[in-house]
């Protein structure tokens, strides 16, 4: 069969196709997003962007209860959102196979925390496989479906950023042909988790974990690799690759199944090697369990708990020291290059205005979180998706009347639909005097522009109903709903001013598409330019952090200019300029 270079995410999608998956559901989130973006190329699979991870897992579980193979994908923190169905799906088990991808992000390249989701496997009593390259990513998806059906359980496959976003060579195979399930089965004891049934299911779950532990010992992908036995290393995922790279002549126990652990294999391995290391990124997940088996291991005393590993981590931990840098820096200070809102981004004017108004901004997650960074620096909290709205409620209740005119919640459209609606319902029901700004840029921008229930299209490209935020908010009970054009700074300011000073709940809908959203964004102005004779070098325009604005040290104060290839003509800088020195170009 053909060999191709695939990322871990592409390989997972391919694995789902080869396994004959019928239904795949996900909410985007780095580093998991490309799995569903790639699955859509396989027309036999129904694939959807769900509004959030809980819904995605429930859709997949439903598909599995219906008898089809189903996949749910999410980033690590997405499993927190999906945790409720997860723990009970462990009790019900499945009919068709159910596989859940958790894509963890050690080092937090694009995340708010670096939780180690291997803990969820143990906590929810669900087996977990962890591939160490793209070939395994594809193979383990197929294996996970077999295990799911054989042991009647959901199965986790854990990826990390360095699996999902690394490419390696994969051999493709033909897909399994699977018919659509013919009918539903009524299985009251199995699928209706009333206490009396759940009490029966729990011991079944415990027996299942015992059987899976026995399987783990026989499973040939939990591999003993015996070379020099002075040092033995237990590892999985990319950690295995890093350690193998640094210590090619040492012995390894490579774990493909990270929960439950193969106790006999671990004992056998520890008996064969003189010094045993556990080399695992993030938590001492193996280490604690191996110690509990009464086996002496070295782990987190020499390898860090925080951050991601590299080949150097293995060498530094095991050799004690690492050679010093042969190439020290040539320059002491390098100007940083942080990510930035795009030129013309509709979020910029909003955050600039919030800054000038000195409001406390209960923030959320999305491209607009960049509004927290200099030079704008206008966001005061960022916790998890949806928290902007409910935290604003808590702030309001804590300060009471003292909060009037001081705080505002800001949330993106995709984030609002993900988990902002219930918070808003709380504000209405429990009478918070909060103002919530919904930034409707018509797309899930941050993760690379995915469709959502407000965009008018599905993942598979079908036209769809678009949520009407105004009608929705009104139905929840919001009486004051204002629409603003985020490029009209005077309007933005006056509307926010009025609403934050209103002792009642209100919603401000900021409507303008993401500038990278080809279907929706139509620039109305030409790029702008600075009239050098009018520019007095006050630098006011630079305070919005637009990548199209440049500074030149000319004259005694210097002058601004605008990169014509980057400017979208959004006019935000022109409105800030007190000298009217920025005008539309010809």
């Amino acid at each position: 069969m053909m060999k191709v270079l695939l990322s871990g995410n592409e390989a997972i999608a391919r694995g789902a196709y080869e396994a004959g998956v019928r239904v795949a559901a996900a909410y985007p989130g780095t580093p998991s997003t490309e799995i569903l973006e790639n699955i859509v190329q396989y027309k036999d699979i129904y694939a959807e962007w769900s509004p959030n991870e809980k819904v995605a897992l429930e859709v997949a579980l439903g598909a599995a209860i219906g008898g089809g193979r189903a996949l749910a994908c999410m980033k690590h923190v997405g499993v927190n959102v999906a945790a409720d169905p997860l723990f009970t799906a462990s009790y019900t088990g499945v009919r068709g196979g159910l596989v859940i991808i958790t894509a963890d992000d050690p080092e937090m390249h694009s995340s708010q925390n670096e939780q180690d989701n291997r803990n969820y496997a143990k906590f929810a009593k669900v087996p977990m496989l962890e591939p160490s390259d793209s070939q395994e990513a594809k193979d383990f998806i197929k294996l996970a479906f077999e295990l799911s059906e054989r042991f009647d359980t959901p199965v986790f496959v854990r990826s990390t950023t360095r699996i999902s976003h690394a490419k390696s060579i994969v051999e493709l195979a033909e897909p399994e042909k699977r018919e659509a399930p013919k009918e539903l089965q009524h299985q009251f004891e199995k699928f209706v988790m009333l206490p009396r049934n759940a009490r029966v299911r729990h011991p079944i779950v415990e027996q299942r974990m015992h059987k899976l532990a026995e399987f783990a010992d026989l499973f040939d992908r939990n591999e003993l690799i015996l070379h020099d036995t002075d040092i033995g290393i237990i590892a999985s995922g990319t950690s295995y690759q890093y350690a193998r790279e640094s210590f090619p002549t040492k012995s390894f126990l490579k774990l493909a199944m990270v929960h439950p652990l193969p106790a006999r294999k671990i004992r056998e391995f520890s008996a064969r090697v003189k010094k045993l290391y556990v080399f695992e990124e993030l938590d001492p997940f193996f280490e604690d369990q191996i110690r509990a088996m009464g086996i002496a291991v070295t782990g987190k005393e020499v390898f860090p708990v925080c951050g991601e590993f590299s080949p150097l981590t293995a060498a530094a931990g095991i050799n004690g020291t690492e050679k010093t840098l042969e190439n020290p820096p040539l320059l002491e200070y390098l100007p940083p290059r942080p990510p930035n809102m795009c030129p013309g981004c509709p979020h910029r004017g909003i955050f600039h205005t919030l800054k000038t108004m000195k409001l406390f901004v209960s923030g959320d997650i999305g491209c607009y979180t960049l509004g927290a960074l200099p030079p704008i620096s206008a966001m005061d909290t960022c916790i998890c998706m949806g928290a902007s709205v409910s935290c604003a409620m808590g702030i309001d209740k804590a300060l009471g009347e003292n909060n009037l005119g001081k705080a505002v919640a800001v949330i993106g459209d995709s984030t609002f639909l993900h988990s902002g609606i219930t918070g808003l319902l709380d504000i209405v029901y429990n009478q918070g005097a909060c103002t919530v700004i919904i930034l409707d840029n018509r797309i899930t921008a941050m993760t690379g522009r995915q469709e959502h229930p407000g965009t008018g299209f599905t993942l598979m490209g079908k036209p769809a109903k678009q949520v009407n935020y105004e009608v929705l908010c009104r139905a929840l009970g919001i009486d004051h709903i204002r629409k603003i054009n985020p490029y009209d700074l005077a309007q933005v300011k006056s509307v926010i001013q009025e609403e934050v000073n209103r002792p009642e709940a209100s919603v401000i809908l900021s409507e303008a598409p993401c500038v990278l959203h080809r279907r929706e964004f139509k620039p109305t102005n030409r790029p702008h330019a600075v009239d050098e004779s009018a520019c007095i070098g006050c630098r006011a325009c630079l305070q919005i952090g637009c990548p199209a604005l440049e500074w030149h040290n000319v004259g005694d104060k210097g002058k601004a200019s605008i990169d014509q290839t980057l400017c979208t003509g959004c006019t935000v800088c022109a409105q800030i300029c007190k000298k009217e020195a920025i005008r539309e170009g010809k």
């Binding site: 490419k167 690759q241 790279e245 080949p311």
Partner: protein, 192 residues
């Protein structure tokens, strides 16, 4: 060749660093090597620094290059070059595209863009090469082909047949852009 070759590619979001890494990886696979390549997507792309690790050889384990073992630093931007010197092996090739992209603190007039970079690099690295890939791409007819022109320059360092490179470029680009990019690649490959 048992030894794994390690290329660290660096640049700024939007310069086409990732596409360049795709082309090189594809070519090396077609040339019969084991290949791994790794980068970070997401926030890093919005005008921020971008790096990608490309590794090939008989058998590659880690998707990341061990610090101190980069054989070739393939840098699309002068300042970005300076961030990764700590990762280089002692006799590394330092191949740099002679382009400046001003970071925000410089456009805002807070920092200066250091103007000593080529001199500093050539004083320390005997195998430093400065290339005008943008000029090469413009010569080929489109400034946007700068990344493929630069891959052309890189291709001289490997014993991989020209037609394999062509196939890799054709596999990675939309059909209507292939001819232009093949031209940019060929001009890059002729640079000395």
């Amino acid at each position: 060749m048992d030894k794994v070759t390690n290329i660290l590619m660096a640049g700024v979001g939007g310069q086409g660093v990732i596409l360049a890494s795709e082309i090189v990886s594809e070519a090396m696979m077609q040339a019969g090597y084991d290949v791994k390549k790794s980068e970070v997507h997401g926030m890093a792309q919005r005008g921020g620094s971008v790096t990608t690790h490309v590794r090939f050889g008989k058998k590659v384990y880690s998707p990341l290059i061990k610090d101190g073992e980069v054989d070739i630093l393939f840098s699309f931007e002068l300042l970005e070059t300076m961030r990764y010197l700590g990762t280089l092996s002692p006799d590394a090739i330092v191949l740099v595209n002679n382009q400046k992209i001003l970071p925000p603190s410089v456009t805002l007039g807070k920092d200066e863009y250091p103007d000593t970079i080529p001199g500093l690099l050539s004083a320390r690295y005997p195998r430093f090469e400065l290339v005008d890939a943008l000029g090469v791409a413009q010569q080929a007819g489109n400034a946007k082909a700068v990344n493929v022109a630069f891959v052309g320059v890189l291709s001289r360092f490997f014993d991989v047949a020209e037609d394999i490179w062509h196939k890799a470029i054709a596999a990675m680009l939309p059909p209507k852009l292939v001819d232009l990019n093949l031209k940019a690649f060929a001009l890059g490959r002729e640079q000395h």
